[in-house]
Amino acid sequence: MVDQTRPEDRWRHVRVLFLAFLGLWLLFTLFPLYFMIITALKTTAETNLTVPTFWPEIMAFGNFAAVFAEATNFDALVDSFVIATINTLLSLFLGTLAGYAFARFPRQAGGENLAFWILSNRMFPPVAILVPMFFLFDSTPWGTDSIWSLVILYLVFNLPLATWLMMVFFRDAPRELEEAAYLDGWTPLRAFMRITLPLVLPGMISVAMLCWIFAWNEYLFANLFVGTDVRTYTIVIPTFTHGSQTLWNLQMAFSLIAMIPPVTLFILLRRYMVRGLSLGVVKG
């Protein structure tokens, strides 16, 4: 048999197959989000049905207000925001300086081994240091239940990432530009601030996003460390219960509200994100 299909027909098949796959993939990834949204809109009774409904019978928009019935719940969002933001600024500041040192003065900064050791801090499971860290921070003047304990603790995870990524970005920024600026009469610090830093800015913004989202979403340590003076939103979510009953609708409503800041940030900065994450991938 001779294949009678024309080439363009065959391409159409590939396209259809491709779109079908894409549709399936979308369904797969978006379904949890969809279920989250409809659950947030359901009444408590409907969330407890044995056969789940895929569209709320009664739209319970009141859920979004009900989560703030306890006034401190809003403060938890604020605490999370403050912790994530301070931690991100610190990670960026320290990570940028350290990354620059590793990129430009590898020998003086301790060499490839030290740089790798810093990255290796992200390789152990965080839970392994949960208890030691608790006792460590418990012995500090401010104790564990404070904004500063989490700000500093999250540096353990974010600083290596920021340092390593910034090092890669700085390696890609041509050294000659700084040298030209020195010859043109600038001090190393000014050349760094005005020439090199703008070059790695997209990278810095993506690093900031990664750090911020990690600190914003962290639950394990927050759950153990804070809870009285300071509460992060992640430890508030499991508190939406009624006796032994989990209030799924309120949990989902609060989670959706907690998604707003990172999603907004991502939309605002997405152009930098893409450029930053592809820095060092595409060359000249």
Binding site: P174, E176, L177, E179, A180, A181, Y182, L183, D184, G185, W186, T187, I195, P198, L199
Partner: protein, 366 residues
Amino acid sequence: MSNVTLSKVNKIYGTGRMGVHAVRDLDLAVPNGEFMALLGPSGCGKTSTLRMIVGLEPITSGDIHFDEVRVNDLEPRERNVAMAFETYALYPNFTVEENLAFPLEVRGVPPADRRRRARELAELLRITEILSAKPPVLSGGQQQRVSLGRALIREPAVFILDEVMSHLDAHLKFQMLFDLKRLHQELRRTMIYVTHDQVEALALADRVAVMSNAELQQVGDRNALYNRPANMFVADFIGEPPTTFIPVERCDHAGSTRLHATGADLVFDVAAERVPGLDAHGGRKFMVGIRPQNLHLCDDGATIGGKIVINEYLGERSILSIVTGDVTLQALAPPETRMTPGEHACFSLDPRDVMIFDTETGALVT
């Protein structure tokens, strides 16, 4: 404007046995206003030398003076040097005009003056139409001009140009050579031009310093380098196609001195005035260097004969490769030369064009 003097300058990268000696006991003086080229193959130490002059690389030992001032311990910005980089190194987030005016901005020149100077320079370099563009959209030649302009805008003690033409195509390079020469004649400033391309070096520079293996081989104008190369490296490196070297042995016969090739039936006469030089050396074995340009095709009475193996036609000339005994020689011939491989050819050679080198050290004997 300054005289630049390097005395016994050394550069060693790394320490101990792992150290690499990049520049060895370099002595070089560039008088005020001279256009000096630093020429040598990759890895010969010329870029290290230049980076030490501008202050981007610490000096291991030795001294560098600008006029009377020892600059060893001065920061690059305190040395008042300007440099054009091989990679142009234009600030990508500044416009061309901002790039040009940048060195003036640093020195606190008022904005109006900066603008004026940038525009004058743009005029000189023929880049007025791209003043508001940013470097990433410019062509290689335009970037090249902007980077030259940024170096030229102030009045530094010395200009350093580092392989600035290695990324330009042949046509553009020709244009830039012309422009650079013109700029130097107009501005009369001390310039040091680093290159691995002898054509650029010989075309531009008043004098050329040839480096190889971390050491300075010879400093001189093009005639000195071409006709009196200090050693076999310079004889080989300067000139295109390269010099042919033939091992020879000295034979004195009936009052005249001749050199017999050891691997072929070739005899070179030595002019009487050069015999004392050979006598002073004392040895019997030498290397003879012959430039392809100095072999002239002729019909008879020839000094050198051989069989043609290749006839390369290059447009304005032909390169003939001739084999005799163990020796392969190259000769330049007019482009219309119709000689085919296998044919026998004869060449005449003026005894004064024979360069005689020491076999061991490679130094020119006479």
